[in-house]
Amino acid sequence: MDLSFTDEEIAFRDEVRAFLDENLPKDLSDKVRVGGELDKDDMDRWHAILNAKGWLASGWPVEFGGPGWSPVEKHIFEEEAARANAPRIVPFGLAMLGPVLQKFGSKEQQDEILPRILDGSDWWCQGYSEPGAGSDLASLKTRAVRDGDHYVINGQKTWTTLGQFANKIFCLVRTKTDGKPQEGISFILVELDTPGIEMRPIKLIEGGHEVNEVFFTDVRVPVENLVGEENQGWTIAKFLLTHERTNIAGVGFSMKALEELKAQARRIKRGGRPLLENPLFAARVADVEIELEAMKITNLRMLYRAQTQGQPGPETSILKIKGTVIRQTLNDLSRRALGPAAAPFPSEEMFGNAALGEPEDVYAAAKYFNNRKLSIFGGSNEIQRNILTKAMLEL
């Protein structure tokens, strides 16, 4: 066995590091480092920088404008980007819709839509979840009824991440009500300025705005906007969720969080000693560090499998479960390290005001609360256990 990267992969890593060094704007990485909320301009700027380099669509094949990276190269890029505190690449167009169109879309859809994802003309968001259909997507109720050369959509979507910045949304809609619920779903593209659509913000637990609900009232969408065939949506949704599950371990984010946690716990004093030398606290840190060290290898083992045997297997659900819990534990320890100093509600005025503490401390509690989402979204960790039950344990 050989756990190290090949010479080519190490050269690639160095190239990525150098690029990030030179091209990642400091104000962006500062904001990411402390856990501040990025606005649309922040994300667009990073999107454009990566696109100019040809590194934006890391999972796309070359013929559609991707860099043609292997799973390992893609992993290296993600890990290095996290280490450098680069903003996360907004996944809806690039990691979700792009691969769906490449596999299921018509030539016209591919030609028209994919370049607009790359150059940032379109910002896509995701219309999957509904108030009564979160992890149980098959029970979704938003209807699309054929009327001549249009579908008429009625219903409600929710948890639409960054929908406030989007101009388009891809939706799962019900096109058939009889038969098995999975067999009556279609995948359709909708422009958000179509009459009858209303988007409302959902304020989250920590006070931030990153998700929305979207209401559809007699929204007319041309039939050409259907992706794949009518009632094929379930197959597409499953394909998309597999793609969503790449980089699901979030190892790079956790490595960064561990580094920050240790620095923080060296800085914070308890009983005249660095908190990191308090045996109870150190034991909690050591526990999660050991889990993360194992996770790194688990992640590489699954990448190796993907690289040598094609698609990653259902084991990626293990990465989701373990990886999210590790990140949440790190956030929890950071919040706990601060004690009452984590209590103030973060505001723009506090951020950057040295009298009110280190900037990364200001957001520690907010980050902890916000990241409780990690074990819920993308198929809750309980749903991941259901997937593993069937696919891996064959129970």
């Binding site: 050989d2 990267f5 090949t6 050591a286 290898i297 373990k322 256990r385 593993l388 039950t389 344990l393």
Partner: protein, 352 residues
Amino acid sequence: MDFSLTEDRRMLSDSLTRFLADKYAFDHRGKVAYDAPFHDPALWGEMAELGVLYALAPEKAGGFGGTGFDITTVFEALGRGLCPEPVLGTLMASKLLTAAGADQAGLLDGSRRYAVAIGELDAPYDLDNIATLAEDDKLSGRKSVVYGGNDADVFLVAARKGDALAVYEVTGTDAQVTGYGLIDGGGAAELFLDATPGTLLLDDAEAALTDALDAGRLALCAEAVGAMDATNEILLDYLRTRKQFGVAIGKFQALQHRAVDVVTEIEQARSITILAASRMGETDQSRAVSMAKTLTGRAARLVAEEAIQMHGGIAMTWEAAVSHFAKRLVMIDAQLGDVDFHLERVMAGYAA
């Protein structure tokens, strides 16, 4: 990056696994593991003939392996077969003999059985508090729970000699050896030394002892991974076939999610063991090994306890294989440093 076994190691793993499945089937294991000498001397010889012990030593010492991945290959198979043969003592003794540049032909061909006597009642895992004293090549003290000591020809004894630690060879017949069986099968001994003659093997032996202990710890992690795999297979088979309320109990979500957690922990234990194997011989060897022993110890206990719980009353019986795997998995944590001991070693690295 390459997570596959080399051809040589795959062959070793296959032949040892097959050997244990054929000759060391559950019934046979049950017959030998709990009665003196708590292993099967005839099969020990056959296993040595397979070349298993040679895989534990480097070429310069007469073997053909000795790396971290050689160790994990052998011990994962031993764990899967729940083998109570005293291979661990052989591995650690080989490390010490290699460090001393001593001949180990008898160790490698299986004709001389070695036990390594480091731990004491008040210092079961660590080298800092060893009380056994060496003066003029006479040893005095008590070594406790020496694995394989009940049936060893030679003991390698760690003792305090002046300000430093040394390792002595003590012939089994020269010492008072009180052997006994272990709750999870296999044997051990208390070694009572009272001006017992020994032959100095290594002076200033702390580094060599640490290296031998690290190798032993890595071996135990791999053994645990193998035993966890086997336990998990038994558990899944049970969940698929055992019916309650008219359905296989594996259909109940309460059990499904716990079974997934069991598999998840096994995969994490496998990963950290691979990591530790890759770090052998590097400067962070001890830290990596301690990380592995911590995570593996915790995972092994979880797998054991969950397997018992999900089997219900059946797992409480002597007849069920799962009960014996569970015992080994729980007790493996107590060998060469438990979760807390190794967690503390990892934490110690935080003090700047």
